[in-house]
Symmetry: C2
Subunit: 362 residues, 2 copies
Amino acid sequence: VIRGSVNHYARGVGATADQTTTAAPGTLMAAEMAEQPSRLAALLARRREVVRELRALLPDRPIGTVLVARGSSDHAATCGRYLLEMASGRPVSSASPSVHTLYRSEVDFSGHLVVAVSQSGRTPEIVEVVERARATGGRAVAITNDATSPLARSADMVIALEAGDERAVPATKTVTCQLAAFAMLAQALGEIGLDDASAGSLPGQVAHVLADVDPAVQLAEWLLGANRLATVARGLLYGAAAEAALKIEETTSVFASAFSAADLRHGPIAIASTGIAVLAFAHPGPACADVLDLVEDLAVRGARTKLAGPVPGSDLPWPAAAPEALAPILAVARAQQLARFLALRMGRNPDAPSGLTKVTVT
Amino acid sequence: VIRGSVNHYARGVGATADQTTTAAPGTLMAAEMAEQPSRLAALLARRREVVRELRALLPDRPIGTVLVARGSSDHAATCGRYLLEMASGRPVSSASPSVHTLYRSEVDFSGHLVVAVSQSGRTPEIVEVVERARATGGRAVAITNDATSPLARSADMVIALEAGDERAVPATKTVTCQLAAFAMLAQALGEIGLDDASAGSLPGQVAHVLADVDPAVQLAEWLLGANRLATVARGLLYGAAAEAALKIEETTSVFASAFSAADLRHGPIAIASTGIAVLAFAHPGPACADVLDLVEDLAVRGARTKLAGPVPGSDLPWPAAAPEALAPILAVARAQQLARFLALRMGRNPDAPSGLTKVTVT
């Protein structure tokens, strides 16, 4: 049986056994969130090196890109998917590991770039996809926290996040560093707005968000009665909305799903009439008007709606100066804050959510 | 503002104004579901023609495939994605229309096959992606119900579903015909098990499922108290699980989400402790053991679990003789039945769910 969760559960157990009995609830998650500005600054400082290395690996532009990831890493990959598609002008797909690990289909990755994302770099099925890709002519980049991991060793090139150990079960600093790594990769393939100015400003913008706790506390209070949450976004922020849903679900067991604004209109909009709580993410840019418009429509239909981002009427703002390509990092920092406050307010320990501590490695 | 839902709402309005005031609730949906065996038989009879036409369009194998769809069509595309990846051995991606319609990124589809899926063929953003793909060197196949639609006219090749008008708001016969069309396309690129015997047996297998109502009635009764449902599958059936979640959510407003078994283990498994209802889909094949194993794990953690498919302990079986490539069609027929019975039992009209009848075309 292939498991995608080995490292996840292992982290859960570590936190339970070693940390959460001695620290106040939410301490680990807060500490790891607080590391983000410095970890991001260190990572972004290596962006010229990444550009150089990727261009050496890929003298010709890839004919397509395949992303391999699970869980929070997969949400970072969803944001990365838009960035890489815009930067490369070529289709970007998300691998279905089961095609390789269970069905064992014959494949041909020649000309394709594979980007594999895993915090620990120890998820066997992700390593297996990378190995099959390289064996059939693909080039592989690993985005991982551990430059000595099996995943790192299996790839042609590694972007080591150097985010440090993650001891709280909900991944935080790893995810925002993964998002930054995708921006660096994309900038190596095309222009997405990651220049000296935006890279230099981002860590301070994240610090600003993390210090500005009141809006997140208030939004957590508003969410307290909800047992259903829909997060909504479109385009570059969609992956951030997916990560927000997962983070809230992981830490609070509130049932949360992410929708692209376009998909929500195409059927599931009926759930608005149930009075569901909706949290929409928007940043100034081409996708913004569509999201704001949907939020109005949802409110008319009976949903309880809140807005996140530097937009009019926002309940959870972040700095508008960031280019949209980096906005997912600010949105995810907001989502971490919200998930943590909501879990604490519900009397739960976000460092070690129930149900996530059992080792199920086989 | 780009809308993906024009035809969807238009159908909703039609049903409200013309039909649902005169027919008993659920009549339209039942009639359209009942057409499926004959519609599928007629479509599958054209499979040699599809193989011939596709091979003429693509003398060389595509270097990648891009799928474009929304809503239920997107769930058919998710099943198609596994089939095409297994058949072609090349990456298959799901287009993000916003990259083209909102961000207007420069793109290059040369060497790629685009498969666009839309019941009406009138969703402007899908037509736009096809036009951009062809203008930059891609080849496009349209899967649509209307061979004279803008989408059909924009593509190199059309698989006309000829499923007839769909007047109930929840798409049924269109979705199963789309799934059959994907199987035909995939069989043109590689071996997926669609031969004379399996194509000939499928319509009868669907008829058998539709006539066997008791298990679906009982499962609807079991779901009655649930306000949260997780559908689960892996591999070829994952898209069917996603369609099941959408169909139930559309018709009943019960909050439903689909999970791949691997993703559910990687974090959201915590929701099991909330006593959530879980409906897992499995068919004999490489992905089956993983799903059955997860269901046991979820039950231990406190979830209320039920199984669909021809597997031990199943609550909602379908014929085991179908190849796994065609099992999504049987799973979706079961999901339609379940959604319809549950909606009726809840006093709702599945033909015209609330919230889905307002025209929002702009």
